[in-house]
């Protein structure tokens, strides 16, 4: 079965051309979840989210309920929403921010109520000019409607939301780098443990950082109950999730699918989803969860879209973005481009990442352009091993944040799966695909 009959939890409104307006939102049940939440106690709202076992949708997949539980013992000062979507080939939050900002705001308000936070910052990636305008306009409307600000819907609960634009840095998607950036500094990730944002966050105060998609799920969870959400999916992967499909597919796009019930094969080939690979070509490899994830080959295409299932197979579902490469793709070029991305976006704090990414990128470039040497493959793996010792999955870490250990993923995958093609590049002194 390619697609189950699961309800559209967060994409239900996107079919309307005016899905971003308050009118459309209200006509389709907008802010009902917030009204319901305000009749409950904050603990009861948090309990529903815990019951839903909603896994964070940012990439790490940490349960949102547990993240909140870490904080409920102490009053939380700030809620920060991470809308700095920059993982290559991930474009789901972009969709939610631009097309349904009221759903995001409603989710944020529910979370703020559950955590009893009175100050929220929504950090939106700077490159989303339209998204920033849409969220700000939606926020203006929501204030006027009485859903945000002082004494929301007469409940006595007050909260202020500030939309904060980013300025173009992949690393600011990392939660502690995001907080640094929000404090007006360079986006350098902070050292953790021992102190996670839950203990020492924005301005040193306890802070919750949640992803845009995670927030957007909350209105439905409050209205329908955490149990209804947990009934969807399988095992630890509950509910539905947005999967961003890109690369060599006939219908690239974002699809909301019930977790675990659909396989990668169905996502790529089902007529209502990816629609297959163009020109009738064969699948060569695919990336299951953003470019930080190790690649999969055609033999793993029948894996289900579930966090634990993909994890057990040696990769991650990460940000839920799937990149498809057909059999005409040069794996050297693809992994070189990904490495170049990391070299450009490394913040420069930790030596293994800052130096390693640059060296790896230059070695990859010389192989791709025909100046490679046979010993380069071992050199690449050795340099990768210095960043993530053992090259295991999940990776070991020598750096402050996980950007470093993400660098080897594509290189090690490409060499393991396509060593002969690297050797052809070296022997023939150039890319055979050009």
């Amino acid at each position: 079965m390619a697609v189950t009959e699961a309800p559209k939890i967060i994409t239900g409104r996107l079919g309307y051309p005016d899905s971003h307006t308050l009118e459309r939102s209200l006509a389709t049940g907008g802010y009902d979840g917030l009204r319901r939440a305000l009749t409950m106690t904050p603990e009861a709202v948090a309990h529903e989210v815990d019951t839903a076992s909603l896994l964070g949708r940012g990439g790490a997949g940490f349960p949102a309920g547990r993240k909140w539980a870490m904080l409920r013992k102490n009053p939380v000062t700030y809620l920060v929403v991470n809308g700095d979507e920059s993982e290559p080939a991930t474009f789901k939050d972009h969709l939610l921010i631009e097309r349904d900002p009221h759903q995001l705001i409603e989710g944020v308000l529910i979370a703020a109520f559950a955590l009893q936070v009175t100050q929220v910052f929504i950090f939106v990636r700077g490159e989303f000019a339209l998204g920033l305008e849409r969220v700000q306009a939606a926020l203006n409307d929501a204030y006027a409607y009485g859903a945000v600000g002082a004494d929301i819907f007469g409940s006595g609960f007050s909260v202020d939301i500030v939309v904060h634009p980013g300025a173009g840095a992949y690393i600011c998607g990392e939660e502690t780098a995001l907080l640094e950036s929000l404090e007006g500094k360079r986006g350098f990730p902070r050292i953790k443990p021992p102190f996670f944002p839950a203990a020492i966050g924005l301005y040193g105060e306890p802070t919750v950082v949640n992803n845009v998609e995670t927030m957007s799920n909350l209105p439905w969870i409050v209205l329908n109950g955490g149990a209804a959400f947990a009934a969807l999916g399988e095992g630890r992967s509950t509910g539905t999730r947005l999967f961003a499909l890109a690369g060599h597919v006939n219908h690239p796009g974002v699809f909301e699918l019930e977790m675990v019930k659909t396989t990668f094969h169905d996502l790529i080939h089902a007529p209502v989803l990816g629609g297959g690979i163009p020109h009738g070509r064969a699948l060569k490899a695919f990336i299951p969860g953003g470019v930080s994830a190790p690649w999969f080959g055609p033999d793993q295409v029948d894996l289900p879209l579930g966090q634990d299932e993909v994890g057990a197979a040696g990769s991650m579902l990460g940000s839920g973005s799937v990149v498809v490469m057909d059999d005409h793709t040069c794996p050297v070029r693809a992994s070189w481009r990904i490495t170049k991305f990391f070299a450009r976006e490394s913040c420069g704090q930790c030596t293994p990442c800052r130096e390693g990414s640059g060296w790896l990128e230059r070695i990859m470039a010389r192989i791709e352009t025909g100046y490679g040497r046979e010993q380069d493959l071992d050199l690449l793996l050795d340099a990768c091993d210095n960043i993530a010792p053992g090259l295991s999955w999940p990776p070991q870490q020598t750096t402050i944040c996980v950007l470093g250990p993400s660098i080897p993923s594509s290189i090690v995958s490409a060499i393991e799966m396509f060593r002969d093609e690297f050797l052809v590049h070296i022997k023939d002194e150039g890319c055979p695909y050009e």
């Binding site: 305008e133 002082a150 904060h164 634009p165 007006g184 973005s321």
Partner: protein, 240 residues
């Protein structure tokens, strides 16, 4: 601005704080917006990035004069402003064209011909990626993933998506930019958010503070009650 009389030259805090630096470059309108933005944050420095965007909206790029004013507004040195701004790709500390055209060449776009599109763009504009055309109308950039991967190869002009481009449509786009045919939907570089925040808490800040203290107190009471319920025998648990 020269150091005030009596301030020792070389004093490390000579240029710090809003009193030390008079605002000389930012226009009244920009300054009004900047002050409004600063008031939204618990610490002025948090307004750093939004202020840089406002300065770029005024000048098209982040000028040294604007950085000096921003330093005064958020209470850091001009060097700290430059040092922080240089971290971010969207903050241009050197002049750029009226239109910054960004071509993404990351993985999803690469698989859909982005490298070829960028090559065409370089040839057609006569500049390498990172360069600005002689007439100052276009700066070409090779971008990292812009999160619009189903519209590959993805192109942005002044951070506004213009959809997947072919070499032919790219040339058409450039000529439209140059003639001003797209000025409605694509404002000049630096203008990021045209929608201004029209409203605030609409409540006295002291009222909010009092409310917040009351909420913290209520929460503490609930936590206590929950703890008490846990230790109480079964069946005594309340509904909340």
């Amino acid at each position: 601005m020269s150091a005030e009389a009596g301030t020792p030259i070389g004093s490390p805090r000579r240029d710090r704080g809003s009193d030390a630096l008079a605002i000389r470059h930012l226009s009244t309108d920009t300054l009004d917006q900047a002050r409004q933005v600063i008031s939204l944050y618990p610490e002025p420095r948090s307004a750093f990035i939004p202020l840089c965007h406002l300065a770029q909206q005024q000048d098209g790029w982040l000028t040294p004069e604007a950085m000096r004013d921003i330093a005064g507004l958020v209470g850091v040195t001009p060097a700290e402003v430059l040092g922080t701004a240089s971290f971010y790709d969207m903050l241009h500390t050197e002049p750029v064209g009226r239109h910054v055209v960004a071509v993404c060449t990351n993985i999803a776009c690469l698989l859909n011909g982005a490298a070829e599109l960028l090559e065409h763009a370089e040839a057609s504009l006569g500049v390498n990626a990172g360069g600005t055309t002689g007439d100052g109308s276009v700066t070409l950039e090779e971008a990292e993933c812009l999160a619009d991967c189903d519209q590959a190869p993805c192109v942005q002009v002044n951070h506004r998506f213009v959809g997947a481009q072919t070499p032919a449509s790219f040339d058409q786009l450039i000529s439209e930019l140059r003639t001003g045919a797209r000025s409605e939907d694509i404002p000049h570089h630096g203008t990021l958010v045209r929608v201004r925040r029209s409203t605030g808490l609409q409540a006295d800040p002291s009222l909010v503070a009092a409310e917040r203290a009351a909420m913290a107190e209520a929460q503490a009471r609930r936590t206590e009650a929950a703890e008490a319920a846990k230790t109480a025998p079964d069946g005594a648990r309340g509904s909340s």
